[in-house]
């Protein structure tokens, strides 16, 4: 019951935010919501499935670039070329970019490209029973390679600068506070949908199978299931969520660049989930928002301190509260319930 009240309270808070926060703060909150969407995917793959995903930045980036390419083309001048291509002397639109002029194609790519990459990688890796730390390392290596590729292909990707300077998002004017509110609302709705999907998955048969794979992969195989399929599907879902978040991040923050996607940013996405509690969806979402808020607050005052704090936070959480804040809450609640039971008996 109390969890329902908490949920209603959160929805209410998100609903009043556009009318009470300044546009700047609302933009920040919208950004945190994007990270929360990624966090749901991470909680699914890591918390429920036991797959430590260290390369979510890749999928975030694929979604972000797909959206960014469309937005760039929709704003392109008479030559039909995005501004950065004109500056770096590209004369004709690269073939890779051409289909992204179509909004339907771009929106489909936001979901399909990250999903497909994750599906292929998952299939190749999990079918060979490469798991645990090996998988974590491979996903991290993917993030490293992806970023280097983005930086290297400057004519196509905009290099280290990435894609930036967006003023319109479909019909919305991103420079106008109302446009920003609308984008925020879209992010909040997507977060709600992603949360509901993840909840349905976890509570259904598939979710039980997923936890079983996490806790005893061999036994699940002996029962006649194929753990590789379960893991691949889950990994793909988490990648699609990251892709959606990336696509929303672009109109909200106004930039997508390699610096946001590499090894360190990918790991940062995990910090919130670890702090909030990876086994509970609400914990992961709350943790992601909280940690990113802390990052903004600290970076405003003293930027160097943030890295100490972030590193220290990771160490402290893992040593003292491996299940995160959500674990502390449920632990306290269980102890309270046990005490109440004891008093009733006595």
């Amino acid at each position: 019951m109390s969890s329902r009240i908490a949920l209603a309270l959160c929805v209410l808070l998100l609903a009043v935010a556009p009318f009470t926060l300044s546009p700047f703060r609302l933009g920040l909150l919208a950004k945190y919501l994007c990270f929360a969407i990624v966090a749901v995917g991470i909680a699914l793959a890591w918390g429920q499935g036991g797959m430590l995903v260290l390369g979510q930045g890749v999928f975030f980036g694929l979604g972000g670039y797909a959206m960014g390419m469309y937005l760039k083309l929709s704003e392109a001048g008479s030559a039909g070329l995005p501004d950065f291509m004109v500056w770096s002397g590209v004369e004709e639109l690269p073939a890779l970019w051409k289909p992204f002029a179509n909004p339907v194609f771009a929106l489909a790519a936001v979901v399909l490209v990250p999903g497909l990459v994750a599906f292929l990688l998952g299939l190749l890796v999990f079918r060979q029973r490469v798991r645990g730390a090996y998988f974590a390392i491979l996903s991290q290596a993917l993030a490293a390679a992806f970023v280097i590729l983005l930086v290297g292909r400057q004519g196509i990707t905009g290099g280290t600068n990435g894609l930036t300077n967006f003023s319109r998002f479909f019909q919305l004017d991103l420079t106008d506070p109302n446009g920003q509110r609308a984008v925020y609302a879209i992010a909040a709705v997507v977060l709600g949908l992603v949360y509901l999907v993840a909840r349905l998955v976890i509570r259904g048969r598939f979710g039980r199978l997923l936890v079983a794979v996490r806790d005893g992969e061999d036994r699940v195989r002996f029962l006649g299931y194929d753990p590789a399929v379960v893991k691949t599907v889950t990994f793909t879902m988490s990648a699609v969520m990251a892709g959606l978040a990336g696509a929303l991040f672009v109109p909200i923050v106004g930039i997508i660049s390699p610096a946001l996607l590499g090894i360190v940013p990918s790991l940062e996405l995990l910090v919130g989930v670890a702090v909030g509690g990876r086994f509970v969806l609400a914990g992961a979402i709350g943790g992601a928002i909280l940690v990113n808020y802390a990052k903004t607050a600290f970076s405003e005052d003293f930027a160097e301190g943030w890295l100490y704090l972030q590193g220290g936070l990771f160490v402290l959480v893992l040593v003292f509260a491996p299940k995160g804040l959500a674990g502390l809450v449920t632990g306290a609640r269980e102890r309270l319930a046990a005490r109440v039971r004891k008093e009733r008996v006595a």
Partner: protein
């Protein structure tokens, strides 16, 4: 063709550095199931040690820097193991995050102590220049790194195969419980392995000062490739680490030559994934009794 041949010493020296880094990783990973993301910062610690010694004792301190860096990085590793990691055995994925947190702190510490910009340690005079071997220009500094790696590998091999401590270590790698029942103090063996592995990372750091600048991010640059070496070579396997390091180091530098640096990394990744399709456990597998 000549330009291609000149890639050879570069590829070999990259392989040598990767090997020095991967040796420590593969043993801590294979023996304790610990994925040490802070390993890269031990490389950095070794490199800064060389830089500081040079400021204090001049260019000739380079050879002295090798054992000192081994000690500094090794002690850092020992401290990390003793303070944190030994509480985390059996939770490999958590050690990864834990050590990443430590690595963030160490990097920022380096930034505060030595400044964010890179510093340059000058190579000693006797390492400048090079010789021509069958038409291939072999710079002395790259040859030295190669020699250093060979000496270290032989040392590690001797330690594992011949010394009593190495025998204990192999026993723990093969079967921790059985080793404990046989009276081996596994905790002490773990700590020693950590000291050795971290120390080798420090030596790799000194070697890196010969070919490039030293900065707070030095470790992160190499750590991912070193982990790929561990994955491709098989856990806790000296042979596997050597072959995988040479293969990946050469592959990387030749691919960079043929395409460019950005595509090379992606291709190396694809090659590793393809390789794992054939040998999912890496090149050499320690046969245990667990299901695979």
């Amino acid at each position: 063709m000549e330009a291609l041949a000149n890639q050879l010493p570069i590829g070999l020296s990259i392989a040598a550095v990767l090997l020095l880094i991967a040796l420590g990783l593969t043993f801590t990973f294979g023996q304790m199931g610990v994925i040490n993301m802070a390993h890269g910062e031990f490389i950095m610690a070794g490199a800064y040690t060389a830089y500081l010694l040079q400021g204090w004792a001049g260019e000739q301190s380079f050879l002295l820097a090798l054992p000192v860096a081994f000690a500094v990085a090794g002690l850092l590793g020992l401290l990390l193991e003793w303070a944190l990691i030994r509480r985390f055995y059996g939770r490999p994925l958590d050690t990864l995050l834990l050590t990443w947190g430590v690595s963030l702190i160490l990097q920022q510490l380096a930034r505060d102590l030595f400044g964010a910009p890179n510093v340059q340690a000058t190579a000693p005079g006797w390492l400048t220049g090079g010789i021509d071997l069958m038409g291939v220009r072999m710079p002395y500094n790259r040859l030295f790194i190669l020699g250093l790696a060979v000496v270290c590998v032989v040392g590690v091999w001797w330690y594992l195969a011949k010394s009593p401590q190495g025998r204990r270590m192999r026993a723990v790698v093969q079967d921790r419980e059985l080793a404990a029942y046989s009276g081996i103090a596994t905790g002490r063996v773990d700590r020693f392995t950590f000291l050795l592995g971290s120390g080798l990372a420090g030596v790799a750091g000194v070697a890196l000062t010969l070919v490039g600048p030293v900065g707070p991010g030095l470790g992160t640059f190499y750590i991912v490739d070193a982990f790929l070496v561990v994955v491709a070579g098989g856990l806790g396997q000296l042979r596997g680490a050597v072959i995988a390091a040479v293969a990946l180091g050469m592959l990387n530098s030749f691919l960079e030559f043929w395409s460019d640096a950005s595509l090379a990394k992606v291709l190396v990744f694809v090659v590793v994934i393809a390789f794992l399709q054939v040998r999912p456990q890496g090149m050499f597998v320690l046969r245990g009794r667990s299901l695979v």
